[in-house]
């Protein structure tokens, strides 16, 4: 560390110059750069650190590429002529080479003809720091932000000086904030009480775990019982700041839990929506609902297999495909089995359970009992980082959005279209609807098809969250029945609110009770809830709802 300090000290003014004025940098001397690079071959690790600093100071346009390559173990020299090369991808044979000066391709050489230039931990730290300095000069604010974060890992004097300089020229507010945090962290180590208090005041607004831990250090006691930090004013300020950070972190983790709950709730709503239509509107208990979701998930898999080059689009293409396949299966079920059992809910339950077994076994026979892997497209992986304490994964975010879209579409279909009107009419008064000339049989088939199709769409979403296997449907089916019963049969809004609150309740309990117990609590709570409101949050009204 000391050596690094010493090295960086004289490197700093030049670096700062380079960082601020990249365009006017002195025309680099290729020969010097190459010979410095050549020294890397036989240098000891400590000499290498020196060389790295000289390379980054050289201002040569390929300096950054070379240092990155060295950090990633992609810098080699050829045994025959001792020339240094960057290797395109490590681990290949032969290795394709890149000229370190021009950064153009330089043919390829067998791997055993090349020797890697090694690094160790200390050297890598120096390299990262040097690259962070490069990063500060980047026009891309997110690169600058990463560079600042990297530099905050080791705040020595030259780094602080560089950060201070950057602070003056930085335009982006988030980078600025990060630099301010870094500077404040550095100022904590100073001796000026006023500056330290000000630093603590700045840090108070941070939510980062690192900052919190750093501040908490000020409150530590030394083994002899006295405080490590002797200044009481600083200590008191630090204590307040830690409490404040803890509060905001707790707040953000609360938001995160809430979001987890929402995303779990969305899954439940997505599943329950189809049920709300078949069970709620038609009074049919479809035990094969889970298996229709499974069909949707397998459709996603098949669509991906059919278009291997377009994983990103395949998910979107799978949505209508799954809707059609599950919907057609539903219509087939309605026409061949369920229509003979209207008015006998318990028998329908058993018959559809039989269908679910047949569907499960068919899938097992066709695709084997093993899980199929559905690829998550790039645009759905990763997470949205809102601040140091809160990051939201994209797939959960998209599930929530997707659920809301599906919900809106279903609502629109039911409220604004002819078929929706027919569906509502038949569910309210079958005989009257028939007298008005509505083909109730056809409407029944379409309603069941709609509910089943939505199950298929839910299956597409589930394929991104769980394993796609023959048992996919069973895992969620009981929960989603409970959502429908909880929300009130035949009420889509009830399903939405019921599902979301069940999801949130579940996730809120999880930290205290563990996943399994939380689930049990939710089930017990629901069983108790049904005692109080046997017909759910939004009970169906009117004569039609009696004795169903």
């Amino acid at each position: 560390m000391k050596r690094l300090l010493r090295g960086a000290q004289w490197l700093l003014p030049l670096l700062a110059l380079w960082a601020v004025l990249p365009a006017t940098a002195q025309s680099p001397n290729d020969a010097t750069f190459l010979s410095t690079l050549g020294e890397l071959r036989e240098a000891s690790y400590s000499d290498k650190e020196n060389i790295v600093e000289r390379l980054s100071q050289s201002g040569h346009p390929s300096g950054r590429a070379v240092l990155t390559a060295l950090l990633e173990d992609r810098l080699y020299f050829r045994n025959s002529d001792q020339k240094v090369f960057i290797v395109k991808t490590a681990g290949e044979d032969p290795l394709s080479l890149i000229d370190p000066l021009t950064l153009k391709s330089a043919g390829s050489t067998a791997a055993d003809q090349l020797t890697q230039i090694g690094t160790n931990n200390g050297l890598r730290r120096v390299l990262r720091m040097a690259l962070a300095h490069f990063g500060l000069a980047s026009p891309d604010a997110s690169v600058r932000l990463d560079a600042v974060r990297e530099m905050m890992q080791s705040l020595d004097e030259p780094t602080v000086a560089l950060l201070r300089h950057q602070m003056a020229v930085e335009k982006d507010s988030s980078v600025k904030k990060e630099i301010a945090t870094g500077l404040a962290l550095a100022a904590l180590d100073g001796t000026d009480t006023k500056a330290r208090l000000q630093a603590i005041a700045t840090l108070k607004d941070s939510v980062s775990q690192d900052v919190r831990n750093r501040l908490a250090l000020l409150l530590d006691k030394s083994p002899d019982g006295g405080f490590v930090e002797t200044n009481e004013q600083v200590r008191r300020a630090a204590a307040t700041a830690v409490a404040s950070i803890d509060r905001s972190r707790a707040f953000y983790s609360g938001i995160e839990t809430l979001f987890f709950g929402l995303s779990l709730g969305s899954v439940l709503v997505l599943i329950a929506m189809g049920l709300a239509i078949t069970f709620g509107v038609m009074g049919v208990i479809n035990m094969a609902h889970g298996e229709l979701m499974m069909l949707g998930a397998y459709t996603t898999y098949l669509v991906q297999v059919a278009m291997p080059g377009h994983i990103g689009i395949s998910i979107l293409a799978a949505i209508p495909a799954a809707f059609v396949i599950a919907g057609l299966t539903g219509v087939l079920m309605e026409r061949t089995i369920i229509r003979f059992l209207y008015g006998r809910p318990l028998e329908t339950l058993l018959a559809t359970f039989g269908v679910s077994l047949i569907l499960q076994q068919s899938v097992r026979s066709i695709f084997s009992a093993l899980n199929r892997s559905v690829v998550t497209p790039d645009w759905m992986s990763g997470s949205l980082r809102l601040n140091d304490a809160l990051a939201i994964t994209y797939n959960r975010l998209y599930i929530v959005i997707f659920t809301l879209i599906v919900f809106a579409v279903v609502m629109l279909v039911l409220r604004r279209t002819r078929i929706g009107l027919d569906i509502r009419a038949v569910s309210q008064n079958r005989a009257m609807a028939k007298a008005m000339g509505i083909r109730t049989e056809w409407v029944d088939a379409m309603t069941f098809g709609l509910g089943s199709g939505i199950a298929g769409v839910a299956g597409v979403a589930l394929s991104q969250l769980t394993n796609v296997g023959p048992n996919l449907g069973q895992a969620y089916i009981i929960d989603s029945f409970l959502v429908v019963v909880f929300g009130g049969v035949g009420n889509l809004w009830g399903s939405l609110i019921g599902g979301m609150s069940m999801g949130i309740f579940n996730k809120l309990l999880e930290p205290y009770a563990g996943a399994v117990l939380a689930k049990i609590f939710v089930l017990v709570a629901l069983i108790l809830f049904i005692q109080i409101r046997p017909r759910g949050l939004f009970p169906p009204a009117g004569r039609a709802s009696e004795d169903k």
Binding site: L346, G354, L357, I358, Q361, V485, K519, I527, Q531
Partner: protein, 371 residues
């Protein structure tokens, strides 16, 4: 015979003019109780007609399932309560028996602890949890086999029926109940052996569970218990209370308005049914030799309902016949064509509900009538 047409299914009221199906059932059970000991103990092992322990276990299993089906038919066929969680009571009875059998192992377990069962030693528990005390005494365990399922049924039924949770709502929450119990029993810290459950039993009341004669006796006990529960259920449905149950099944609101305490009838019949299921489970465990949380799986309960539907709902003996037939088919098909079993079971569900709403008994009765 009086008939009542509702929900498109014709269900028979019990008639005073004899119980032919029941007579047949009791005769068959008597034959089993006499025949099994003869074919196992008296016929030499070399003979083709010798009944192996495997065969006895199988018959015992069918009879236990028959008893579970009987319990379901009592409430579904006669009181219109479709429980999709009845296997939970079966499993609870089984667990009570399992706890007794675990305590009987004593120091013969793998770890040789005289008090703690193996899985507790494995989990590094130091003392017996409170709810395990007393299970080393058979009478206490016997009481618990009845009390545990009965109490759960009472609490659950009291809450559910009092707030008038009926029909499919009741079915769904019973399913949730057994699902929740399954999740709970899978947990190691519940103190019921986690997902391994209880197994490796040694003896019952001092008799070796690995000997033929113990199995024979257990089977005879099961047959007697089944006959006894059949007669008890028959008595209930033929009694005045049984008449009220039919009324509840056919027109619940009307029965209530006539002044009958519908909820009490439902709760008590539900508790009785749960106790019968619990005893069936308790008899099942020593014969099969294992009990684990898989018994709580919702599919088990639903399968049991289909036995009743196949045999003939609302007949009692039909439910028992259905359980034996479907399970025999299951044993045969899972052995001969494992791929086909779920297809067959699924098709059975569909076909029976569509074409045989009164099950096999209905089919037979129709034949008899034609002649």
């Amino acid at each position: 015979m009086e008939q009542n047409k509702r929900e498109g299914v014709t269900l028979w009221y019990p008639s005073a003019s004899g119980d032919r199906g029941g007579t047949w059932l009791l005769a068959v059970l008597g034959l089993v109780a006499i025949g099994v000991p003869v074919f196992n103990q008296l016929v030499p092992v070399s003979s083709a007609t010798h009944l192996s322990v495997f065969g006895i276990t199988l018959i015992g299993k069918y009879l236990c399932y028959g008893m579970l089906a009987l319990a379901i038919d009592l409430i579904w066929g006669y009181c219109g309560i479709l429980s999709l969680g009845h296997a939970a009571f079966f499993a609870l009875g089984g667990y009570a028996m399992g706890m007794y059998l675990m305590r009987q192992i004593g120091s013969r377990g793998v770890y040789g602890d005289p008090i703690l069962p193996d899985f507790m030693v494995f989990l590094n528990w130091k003392s017996l949890p409170w709810f395990w005390h007393g299970f080393n005494h058979f009478p206490f365990a016997l009481a618990m086999m009845v009390v545990a399922p009965g109490l759960l049924a009472f609490v659950f039924g009291w809450f559910a029926f009092r707030s008038r949770v009926t029909g499919v709502y009741f079915s769904i929450i019973t399913q949730a109940l057994t699902y929740a119990l399954m999740l709970a029993f899978f947990r190691n810290d519940m103190g019921f052996g986690g997902n391994n459950g209880f197994t490796d039993f040694k003896d019952i009341l001092g008799f070796d569970l690995h000997s033929d004669s113990t199995h024979v006796v257990l089977l005879v006990v099961t047959a007697v218990a089944l006959a006894g529960s059949y007669l008890a259920c028959r008595t209930i449905v033929e009694s005045r209370a049984g008449r009220v149950m039919h009324a509840i099944r056919d027109a619940e609101s009307r029965t209530r308005f006539l002044g009958y305490p519908v909820e009490s009838f439902k709760v008590w019949i539900f508790v009785f049914s749960a106790v019968v299921a619990g005893i069936a489970g308790a008899l099942y465990v020593p014969q099969i030799g294992i009990i684990n949380p898989g018994e709580f799986a919702p599919i088990n309960s639903i399968e049991a309902v289909i036995w009743v539907a196949v045999g003939g709902r609302g007949t009692l003996y039909g439910a028992i016949a259905g359980a034996v037939l479907v399970n025999y088919a299951k044993t045969y098909l899972t052995g001969a064509f494992p791929e086909v079993w779920l297809f067959a079971l699924g098709a059975l569900f569909v076909l029976v509900t569509l074409f045989l709403p009164r099950g096999i008994v209905g089919l037979v009765q129709a034949r008899v009538k034609d002649k």
